[in-house]
Symmetry: C2
Subunit: 523 residues, 2 copies
């Protein structure tokens, strides 16, 4: 296998090279010696073991070596480009209540923004400032000179065409900002005027069409920094960026299109002629009927869209009614992070479910129940006792450290499978209110046997055996120290359910019963 | 003169083509006819008059035609690149109180951040959350997964190396965000441990050195998108960007350098070798002693720096004392806007001062004082009466509409010089509390003559004459309408000073006396 040595070493997943909590590297690239090479390379059981010329040892799963980069999903490569007909059966939308309650619904909405560039949330409470709550459900509000939020309605002395009743052609917002706000939200509080429909155009699709039909125009627009300007009494913004931004590999990554705020380009006349010809052809493409997706926002609807990709528009409206939107800006990076964490949490729950159904069927240390039965019983006992969600979860998951499989997905080139206990593994998904009772549930047995007369006598035979292995009952000082630990009381509660959850053939709910509770705790 | 027709027309400054309030264009580029041409071009008195093939007429000052683009100041072109020796006599710094009080000091600090990449504010109150006040003095806080602000001190379970006592090599922050926060602020609350000094490296200078010494490495780093990653329980960020970002003209625009969070690059082995060789050479340049600017932040110091350009570092510290910084992120665009507005305000005050000293020396409509004497007297009378700042300003500036010069700087291709009254011109700099009394001070005379017995008799001869021209005293209905206007009361106050301010040879303070008051009102 031919591998680039510095690349391979830079990706060493050992805990000396990477912080297992966040995957951050613990060495500087310049600290690696010159002329670094592998002195030994052995493949065994799906793992490549390497000994380096400086003596360091690394191990890489072969699966990781074969992985492909997925990109950050921000260029055209990570998108589905569209024209309006794509949405003949409806636009991506979800109910706000379902979005809040259901991780799958949340992932679908955020995934639509990421891949299609937009989604509409219906039934968002039609109250002022709610748009901020929508933004904060996946990220952070980006404040601008228009405020933390802005009202889109007719204003007596508008500093922007948005605040009139005029039609607005497809455009992106704030091109004079750098960094430009990458997401925009528009929440409709009222829309009972004639007109005032919303329009969206896929700017990546428009740029893609320009590239196909007039490659020289595409080249001109990607190569020409254009000044965008905005000024009023308190503001003087200027950003110089191309209308079509590409990454170093030439992939479309950002479209800035706002006729109103293009400033004065300074180039030789022939280059200006070429730019304006390309600009006018691009503008004409953005206005093609087949690219115009038009829909109407009603009371409570909130449109979320990618301001680096989609152009948005509105039709003019009569003053026979009122139209009032509240908008704010936010950023795509946090939205993508929220989406990735949702996917990761779903994958973790899938892994747990598989563990309960697979390894969990194995014998549980000499008890008359399987591991899965034992843990499901413990969770059910906690639930029946009216315990709070975090204790139900701790009871359900308290023995997860017994599963071999919990280490499996930790690898991926950034973790060591054997250095993590069950609690530490759970710490990737749950807070200390869940992990600490799990971490302390063995100590809790030693504590209870010390302080509660008759407790030890009630242990199962297997549990009495492991008590010896674990150090026997605590002495007085140990018990006092234990009782002072955060989570000790919860650990004791979990421990009591643990002892009781060893009844052969007791009926238990399936793992799926606990998924919503676990999903909620993961947030 | 050979000019590009669509370019020229797109920049037509007439009020039909541009909103005079904010310079935004009022037409779509696609609305211009095909085959647009100039049918007539005449230069007269420094202005180019054009008649277009569609009948539209435009006028452009020749000075505007000759202007050069200045760029947005974000690439290397707009910067002064440096090595540490540049600051042998000290780093750019200012006292917080002076920064708040003096626009020139404020402009100097923001200008240093823009051109050198950093500045230090001394004497910021050493209290928690003050760093947010510093950010808000020129822009908006960018919230991230680290919070609205973050504490840089030793934490028991750090999710980032920053929150330990370890040394940190020069790096930029949050490269895994896109958009990356373009500014960082670090406010020192306590620093009495041994060690813990701060370091800065000009990343643009380092990139510039790489380009000179190893052009092929520079080309590799600008052409290779690199994945930067960060993950913890609630976060999974990924941005794919080159280490050295250039604009379409090849100018250095952004440096991302953070060894800890470079993810796994996926390329053929030969390309990985080339990338890692270039990356290691660039890393070595960032560590050259002559590039390391080192200084110490003490209690109350706040460092503001460009996170797209400067790498920041800190030395390790002993736990023999405490080190506690509070940091937050913000963005360069708003900082640049604040700086531009400061410059614009200074220029406006300079213009006013010149008008008072130039045209202001002219006779004032038959009175025994010059225009400047009259206005300075009015301002001084208001001040002596203990009037609030906005009324002193209104009294001082009430006749500014008489100056021809007030229209002069409005042009610059975006405004019409003859369509603005004095109040409207002042509206570019001052709020309605200043402009409305100015706008109404003539009406106030007609009002006072109507409602106050004996007022008319006290008018000067010239003022009695102009009263006739202006429509004479108001009738009852007019007076009632006037009294109901916002600012009417203030306009009456200004008017009284106006009448009194016609005393030949009365001593008055110079215009400069009023500058700080005007500057404060402009904020």
């Amino acid at each position: 296998m031919t591998l680039s040595p510095y690349w391979l070493r830079d990706n060493c997943p050992c805990t000396g090279c990477r912080d297992p909590r966040n995957g951050q590297k613990l060495f500087q690239i310049g600290e690696l010696p010159d002329h670094l090479s592998c002195t030994e390379q052995v493949e065994q059981d799906g793992v490549l073991h390497v000994v380096w010329s400086d003596g360091h040892r690394s191990s890489y799963p072969l699966g990781w070596l074969a992985e492909q980069g997925e990109g950050d999903g921000r260029t055209e490569q990570g998108k589905r480009l569209w024209e309006a007909a794509e949405f003949g059966r409806g636009i991506p939308e979800a109910d706000w209540a379902a979005y809040l309650a259901d991780p799958a619904e949340r992932a679908a909405v955020l995934g639509a923004v990421r891949h299609l560039g937009f989604a509409v949330l219906r039934g968002v409470p039609g109250e002022e400032r709610q748009v901020l709550a929508v933004a904060r459900s996946f990220g952070y509000v980006r404040e601008t000179n228009y405020g933390e939020l802005f009202d889109v309605r007719i204003e007596p002395d508008p500093n922007n065409l948005a605040f009139t009743s005029a039609a607005i052609a497809p455009h992106t917002d704030n091109p004079y900002r750098d960094p430009v706000p990458t997401l925009q939200l528009l929440h409709c509080l009222r829309n009972d005027a004639t007109g005032g429909d919303s329009g969206l155009v896929d700017g990546f699709r428009a740029a893609d069409l320009l590239r196909t039909e007039h490659p020289e125009d595409f080249a001109t627009l990607t190569a020409t920094p254009v000044p965008f300007v905005f000024r009023d009494r308190r503001t003087e913004l200027l950003a110089e960026r191309p209308l079509i931004g590409t990454d170093p590999l030439g992939r479309i990554r950002e479209v800035r299109f706002n006729n109103r705020s293009i400033g004065t380009l300074r180039l030789p006349p022939a280059e200006l002629d070429a730019f304006y010809a390309a600009y006018r052809r691009f503008a004409a493409i953005t206005l093609r009927p087949e690219l115009q997706l038009t829909f109407r926002l009603g009371h409570g609807d909130c449109l979320v869209f990618d301001n680096t990709r989609l152009l948005h528009a509105r039709t003019a409206f009569e003053q026979d009614g009122h139209r009032h939107l509240q908008g704010c800006y936010a950023d795509l990076d946090s939205l993508a992070s929220t989406l990735a964490v949702l996917h990761r949490q779903t994958a973790a729950l899938d892994t747990l479910e598989q563990l309960f159904e697979g390894e969990g069927a194995a014998e549980y240390l000499g008890e008359e129940v399987t591991m899965a039965q034992h843990m499901l019983q413990a969770g059910a006992l906690a639930e029946a006792a009216g315990a709070p969600a975090h204790l139900v979860a701790a009871a359900l998951l308290h023995d997860v450290g017994h599963f071999d499989g919990t280490g499996l997905e930790l690898m991926q080139g950034r973790d060591n499978r054997h250095s993590h206990t069950g609690a530490e593994w759970l710490g990737r998904w749950f807070g200390p209110e869940v992990t600490e009772p799990v971490r302390l549930h063995v100590a809790a047995k030693r504590y209870l046997c010390a302080v509660e007369p008759g407790y030890r006598e009630r242990l199962s035979e297997a549990s009495e055996y492991t008590l010896q292995v674990q150090g026997g009952p605590m002495d007085e000082a140990q018990a006092a120290r234990f009782a002072a630990l955060p989570g000790a009381e919860d650990a004791v509660a979990v421990r009591r359910w643990d002892e009781q959850a060893k009844e052969a053939d007791a009926p238990t709910p399936p793992f799926a019963h606990f998924r919503p509770l676990l999903a909620e705790l993961m947030r």
